[in-house]
Amino acid sequence: MGTSVFYFVATLSVIFALMVVFAKNPIHSVLYLILTFFTFTVHYVLLNAQFLAVVNFIVYMGAIMVLFLFVLMLLNLNKDNEPNKSALLKIVGIIAGGCLVVTLIGSLKSVAIANPLVLKNPNLGLVENLGKELFGPFMLPFELSSLLLLSAMVGAVLLTKKEEKANG
């Protein structure tokens, strides 16, 4: 039963991810992205990582995507004011996309179908274990990433403050 659910949800996430790219309306695109994240949440639940699932739910679907939608609503995304892209820009885009494709193909080549991993401890994904891992062996990277976020926050505050000074 687990695998069939997985395949169903995986198909859905692929479809929604494609819709993100193909949707004409940017708001629809964001909404499809939200649905894609929702299927990811289901994947986490299937992997028995309940805490990660809920955090993905709150942070990505709840907060970040709301902000994204927020910004998109304010943009005037009509066809008329979309700037014409120069030929150079198109060529650069093609090269960048090609690089990504090559990387993806290269990584796919080395993939082999591994034996399914059997969890020895079904409670591995719970908060307690996650916390012990994060504040035990992964203490330094965890704290460093929090520092990174802090610096981003300070930067954002600084950006807003600077403008105020120039005005007043």
């Binding site: 708001i27 939200i34 809920v54 679907m61 709840g62 709301v66 939608l69 908060v127």
Partner: protein, 345 residues
């Protein structure tokens, strides 16, 4: 997992659903009555004795109204909006433990639909998802007032979610668990969390007012400047869904406050009552106490609405970011230090 388990959960789900809808229905009536009494009036008293059938009359009126979808609205999203608002409001009650385990015949029935071990975060996630209904509906209406309201709702919800999350973290330091079932059962008798976390409760409550878009934080739907805001273009039952979702949200957040900070189904002297009433009726009595607490909170929500005027938008933001978040962080620090000292000695 036998068929009896499925039936048991099915009955529980149906009952919960019915109860939330019923409470939402009568909240609309209670709101009007409370507003009237607070203003020395009588309130609706024509439909049935004391106007008790007023919600039914309102419901019939809603159904009979003409359904209008604006010509330039995004039709699909216009319909998704209220549905999403209703869905997010209704699924929140699934993880609430409504009572202690109850004996029905010789069967132990858990009065909880599901006990996820991250139940608290689940509720938090559902609440944070609730804003999508408002945002999508507001944007799809293709109306500047609705859009403004949707944007207000989004920024307000995100801002107050942070303070709410931080106040919950301080609570988690005390309870050591994310499972609502465990959090509630820890508060046996009078050991309610509000005694240990008064400041956290205050912050949580203010944030709950903001998250449910209730006065004094009802800026997304403020009548004076936005003409009703996100549900301005809605009519008939779609409008009804939005209004209903607001009342269900109020019920859910009252429930969460009662469960997290006011002991849920626990009350002083419950052991004595358990001996008196036996294993079937004592848990039900606890559930009744729980509902009393919930109703008290709902009354408080209404009482505040008819007392305090609406915030201005910059006041709302400065309260959220400059007052509540620092307070919540200070609360976490103090709680952590106290717990560390208590554990040491």
């Amino acid at each position: 997992m036998g068929i009896d388990f499925v039936i048991e959960k099915f009955i529980l789900v149906i009952a919960l659903f019915a109860i939330s809808l019923l409470i939402a229905m009568y909240s609309t009536y209670a709101e009007r009555k409370v507003a009237a009494f607070l203003q020395d009036r009588l309130g609706p008293d024509r439909a049935g004795p004391f106007g008790i059938l007023q919600p039914l009359a309102d419901g019939v009126k809603m159904f009979m109204k003409e359904e209008i979808i604006p010509a330039n609205a995004n039709k699909w999203l216009f319909m998704v909006g209220p549905g999403l608002a209703m869905l997010c409001a209704c699924i929140g009650t699934a993880v609430i433990p409504w009572g202690q385990d109850m004996m029905v015949g010789d069967r132990l029935v858990k009065l909880q639909v599901t006990d996820i071990n991250v139940g608290l975060l689940y509720i938090f996630g559902v609440i944070s998802l609730g804003v999508y209904g408002v945002m999508i509906g507001g944007w799809a209406s293709n109306n500047k007032y609705s859009l403004l309201s949707a944007i207000r709702a989004a920024s307000q919800n995100i801002s107050y979610e942070i303070a709410m999350g931080l106040s919950i973290i301080a609570l988690l330091l005390v309870t050591n668990s994310l499972s609502l079932r465990e959090i509630v059962s820890q508060q046996h008798g009078w050991h309610w969390n509000v005694i240990y976390q008064p400041l956290g409760f205050l912050i949580f409550m203010v944030c709950a007012f903001a998250e449910t878009n209730r006065a004094p934080f009802d800026l997304p739907e403020c009548e004076a400047e936005l003409n009703g805001g996100y549900h301005m273009e809605y009519s008939s039952m779609k409008l009804g869904f939005y209004l209903f979702a607001e009342y269900i949200n109020m019920f859910v957040s009252s429930t969460v406050m009662a469960a997290l900070y006011f002991g849920g189904y626990n009350y002083p002297g419950m052991d004595y009552m358990a001996g008196l009433l036996g294993p079937t009726w004592a848990p039900l009595f606890g559930t009744a106490i729980f509902f009393l607490k919930i109703f008290a909170f709902i009354f408080f929500f209404m009482w505040v609405r008819w007392t305090i005027p609406r915030f201005r938008y910059d006041q709302l933001m400065s309260l959220g970011w400059k007052a509540l978040i620092p307070l919540a962080i200070a609360n976490i620090v103090v709680t952590g230090i106290v717990i560390a000292i208590v554990n040491k000695f």
